[in-house]
């Protein structure tokens, strides 16, 4: 029999949990949802734009009543639950009904805090929490003129702004000397106050409310100092408190909120709780991002997967007042060992402060220009060491030179709707914003799935994240730090590698069974990663699973847009001979190759080859002495060289010869991503060694070794690893570096982001400071090369079984085949 799940609270956290649950297992429960508001589920945080007249109630609905029906959820809207009987496992509602449960989810949110003063019961005294409140405020704005908002925090300011937009004369009464003092420092608070004053809002700071006066309708707000501020409407926005009455009454253990563990379970093993009503590790949250994380974990446990844990969240805040950009995250109060980097331009209306401790961002306050808020927040949450970018940190991420959307550094919010954000898929800003709004997208993954933006090269990820942040405000849930490999598992790349390193598991099915993969055989994201990790771990006896490889690696060529392939033979160090060129020319003619092109990697590409012809071409190339150039692989690509001391008047060493040696040592090696090398004969650097994964720059006294460069999507100049004196050392360090990268990087992570993630110091520690380790790495690399350096082209061209895979199963266009088929 299906189990009964009852949800009390039809708000953002409760329904997000149900959505997550339905994604994992749609049929496990018979679900009933109680909500004492008379609507489907809506996006509460967008009540502010509704009040300001920028959105309508319809715009902010998340799940309509049809959605509940389609998903077989019984929605008891407008019905309040008054009691939970844990002994009988039923909830009792206002209307007298009793609903039994096997599992109960409490998501009752929070209540506005009401000051314990006289007059709060008067007509015209409102709070700001739900649609009902907004409707009342809008109605009051039609008749009344003067409004007083008590509380200068986020909610109060958004209410004040909305009421002013509705034509009211608004005064904000705030107890402290800084607005939003929990999110802003004094400088930013003052700038905020000044710009709100320009919008005709009035402020009474350090003012304590004593009472609200009036006969039956509110007439004024009275302060401790005796002042009386006339008011037709008073909005109380002094804070919220978790709504725990129901839980308390049922005898569930509560402190400030309902106390839950890391699985969102309360002290009753059948009752879960999420959202603003809970207290987790001592914290009760009041923003949606953490609640969405809780929802995900809770759904995982409701679905009986029991693999997720909630460990608390770091939060950031944005103020949703159109025209005012404000961002705040973390701890910015200063303190011992905390350094502040500040940029202050009162005239331009920009203020930025970063608090740094131990080379990590601890807190950020941005006013006026918040474009880099999400970036700082990410650096902060991931604990990134910022020492190397410190000098231009305040100038923002736009400095980092992504290709494909040049000239758009001026802030994504300022871009026009037809500005192209994703250069790979041709997706414009307007399309992305529309999709976020209409399809109610919250995460980067959602946007990728629906618009394809940022789903290819990923260089526009930052821009898309900014669009999410500016479109959704604080509603945007950033991607968590330890991302699972894909939707087939909750485990991250590192977690999976850890298991592979410690267990004797040598096949993908065994590994998936051991790690409780959620899908029978993974997907196109995880299988290639697992195949690589196993191959790297067991170089001598892992049986490569070609079905877990992307077609390029399976067919040993690059698939083209028309389904044909390209063929790139290896040309050691870019050096060739008339004989080789003749052989290539012969092959090109014999197989009617449609185009012959010199690549950016110093070799020749033959385009437009039919899959069926590949083994034949390879056989001919093999005979002429060529091996595969792996131009298609997450593998060693090219070793680019310059002429060096053999011919060049400036050459200091034999760069060509060294490049060939390096290529001969490393070709065939599978890697987390593609890997490119270069050797330049002098610092003029004609081989562009300083934008390669591993680059050698020859100098009179030896060889400089450079690592972690990239000339592609995001240009990154290499870091200098060290300088050595002999070619033998170059080879040893190269092999060690490659092996470290092979063993530790995530699949599809190139050396540039890998080095940035682990830090140059780490690489130096492993390779420079520890010669034993360096030699061990080198030895492991050479050992794995023994099996890797079997030319795949020759192998495929000579094994009939492998060749068969390149041919059709049956060719019905050939007469004899067709006759045979009909016989």
């Amino acid at each position: 029999m299906t189990q009964k799940l009852v949800v009390v609270g039809n708000g953002m956290a409760g329904m997000r949990t149900i959505e997550e649950l339905l994604k994992i297992t749609p049929d496990l429960y018979d679900i009933t949802v109680f909500g004492d508001e008379p609507y489907g589920n809506y996006n509460r945080i967008l009540l502010s734009p509704v009040l300001a007249g920028e959105k309508t109630i319809d715009d902010i609905m998340l799940n309509t009543e049809e959605w509940y029906a389609e998903n077989n959820i019984t929605l008891r809207k407008g019905v309040k639950v008054t009691e939970i009987r844990r002994d009988r496992r039923v909830v009792i509602a206002e209307d007298g009904s009793e609903t039994p449960y096997d599992r109960l989810l409490i998501a009752t949110g929070s209540r506005p805090f009401i000051l314990p003063i006289e007059g709060v019961g008067l007509q015209g005294v409102l709070t700001f929490r739900d649609i009902h409140d907004v409707n009342q405020m809008l109605a009051a704005a039609k008749t009344g003129k003067k409004a007083v908002v008590i509380g200068g925090g986020l909610l109060g300011l958004e209410a004040a702004n909305g009421l002013a937009k509705n034509g009211m004369d608004v005064t904000v009464v705030h107890l402290m000397d800084t607005l939003m003092e929990r999110q802003l420092d004094a400088a930013a608070g003052a700038m905020l106050k000044a710009s709100l004053e320009q919008r005709d809002l009035k402020f009474l700071m350090e003012a304590k409310t004593k009472a609200i006066v009036g006969r039956d309708k509110v007439e004024a707000v009275e302060l401790e100092d005796g002042r009386k501020i006339p008011a037709d409407l008073v909005v109380m926005a002094v804070g919220i408190k978790p709504n725990i009455e129901l839980a308390q009454k049922a005898g569930l253990y509560c402190e400030r909120g309902i106390v839950v563990d890391d699985t969102m379970l309360t002290y009753d093993g059948r009752i879960y709780a999420v959202g603003e009503c809970v207290q987790h590790r001592g914290v009760a949250y009041g923003l949606v991002a953490p609640l969405f994380e809780q929802a995900k974990v809770c759904a995982n446990h409701l679905a009986r997967k029991a693999t997720a844990a909630y460990k608390g969240s770091v939060t950031s805040t944005k103020l949703k007042v159109t025209g005012i950009d404000l961002f705040s995250a973390g701890d910015f109060a200063g303190g011992e060992g905390v350094e502040e980097i500040v940029l202050k331009d009162p005239y331009g209306g920009v203020y930025k402060k970063l608090c740094i401790k131990d080379n990590k961002i601890r807190g950020a306050v941005l006013y006026g220009d918040t474009m880099d808020g999400p970036w700082y927040f990410q650096l902060m949450r991931e604990g990134t060491d910022i020492s190397e970018i410190r000098d231009h940190l305040l100038f923002g991420q736009a400095h980092l030179g992504d290709s494909g959307h040049g000239g758009q550094e001026s802030g994504v919010a300022l871009l026009s709707d037809d500005a192209e954000i994703c250069g790979c898929n041709g997706v414009c800003k307007g399309e992305i914003v529309d999709a976020i709004v209409e399809k109610k997208l919250f995460t980067l993954d959602d946007v990728r799935a629906h618009t394809k933006a940022s789903s290819s090269c990923g260089s526009c990820t930052g821009l898309v994240e900014q669009l999410l942040a500016t479109t959704l405000g604080g509603d945007y849930s950033e991607t968590p730090k330890e991302k699972p490999i894909c939707a087939c598992t909750d485990l991250s790349h590192d977690a999976v590698r850890e298991v592979i390193n410690t267990q004797e598991i040598k096949t993908i099915p065994e590994l998936m069974a051991f790690l409780e993969w959620k899908t029978p055989n993974g997907c196109a994201t995880c299988r290639p990663a697992l195949n690589y990790y196993l191959l790297c771990r067991w170089p001598e006896d892992y049986e490569d699973d070609s079905q877990s490889r992307f077609i390029n690696e399976r067919a040993h060529g690059n698939i083209q847009k028309d389904g044909t392939y390209s063929v790139v033979p290896r040309m050691w160090g870019g050096v060739t001979t008339p004989d080789e060129l003749r052989a290539i020319a012969d092959v090109a003619e014999k197989y009617k190759v449609r185009e012959v092109k010199v690549t950016g990697g110093q070799r020749i590409d033959l385009f437009g080859v039919e899959k069926e012809d590949l083994p034949e071409i390879w056989r001919d190339l093999s005979k002429a002495g060529f091996v595969s150039g792996h131009a298609y692989g997450k593998a060693l690509r090219t070793v680019k060289t310059c002429v060096g001391s053999q011919w060049c008047r400036f050459g200091t060493q034999d760069s060509t010869g060294l490049g060939i040696k390096l290529e001969q040592m490393t070709w065939g090696s599978w890697m987390p991503h593609k890997f490119k090398m270069a050797v330049s004969g002098c610092p003029r650097n004609c081989a562009e060694a300083t934008i390669k994964d591993f680059g050698v720059v020859c100098v009179e006294s030896g060889y400089e070794l450079h690592i972690g460069g990239n000339g592609g999507i995001k240009v990154r100049v290499t870091d200098l690893l060290t300088k050595v004196e002999t070619e033998e050392e170059v080879l040893e360090y190269t092999a060690a570096f490659i092996q470290l990268y092979r063993e530790e990087a995530h699949y599809l992570e190139r050396t540039a982001p890998w080095v940035e993630r682990v830090g140059l110091a780490y690489v130096k520690k492993k390779i420079l400071d520890d010669p034993e380790n360096r030699k061990a790495l080198r030895d492991r690399f050479l050992k794995s090369q023994r099996r890797a350096q079997i030319d795949p082209w020759k192998e495929n061209a000579t094994s009939p079984q492998r060749q068969a895979q390149f041919k059709p199963l049956r060719d019905l266009t050939r007469q004899q085949d067709l006759e045979g088929a009909n016989a």
Binding site: T519, C523, I559
Partner: protein, 117 residues
């Protein structure tokens, strides 16, 4: 699958063992190839070898469960329904196929449909 003979309208196109597990091969025919997939649990599917997105050869994709990921831009096609997995929209033509004693038979409607076209 039963042990009975395939019946009149079925054309043998090859053996199960000729397709790698979680792999695919094509049957070439006039005017567009058919991809024969060997999916999870040796289930066999026959679909037109053209991705609804930009015509990518689905037979070259990675097969997982009863789905294939197109090699060109990663659309995921459900082999059972021929439909692109949301949020992408599109559908691939499917053909009847059956497996008897390790032999794969394609319904000849797959060939006739093409002749008519």
């Amino acid at each position: 699958m039963s042990n009975h003979a395939p019946g009149e309208n079925w054309v043998s196109v090859g053996k199960l063992e000729d397709i790698p597990p979680l792999g695919a091969r094509i049957v070439r025919r006039e005017g567009g190839n058919i991809a024969i997939f060997r999916a999870e649990g040796d289930r066999i599917y026959a679909l037109e070898n053209r991705c609804p997105h930009k015509g990518g050869p689905l037979s070259e994709g990675i097969v997982h469960g009863c789905r294939v990921t197109c090699p060109l831009h990663n659309w995921v096609i459900d082999l059972d329904s021929g439909e692109a997995v949301g949020p992408d929209e599109g559908v691939v033509k499917r053909y009847d196929v059956k497996l008897i004693d390790g032999e794969i038979y394609l319904h000849d409607a797959a060939l006739k449909a093409q002749e008519a076209a």
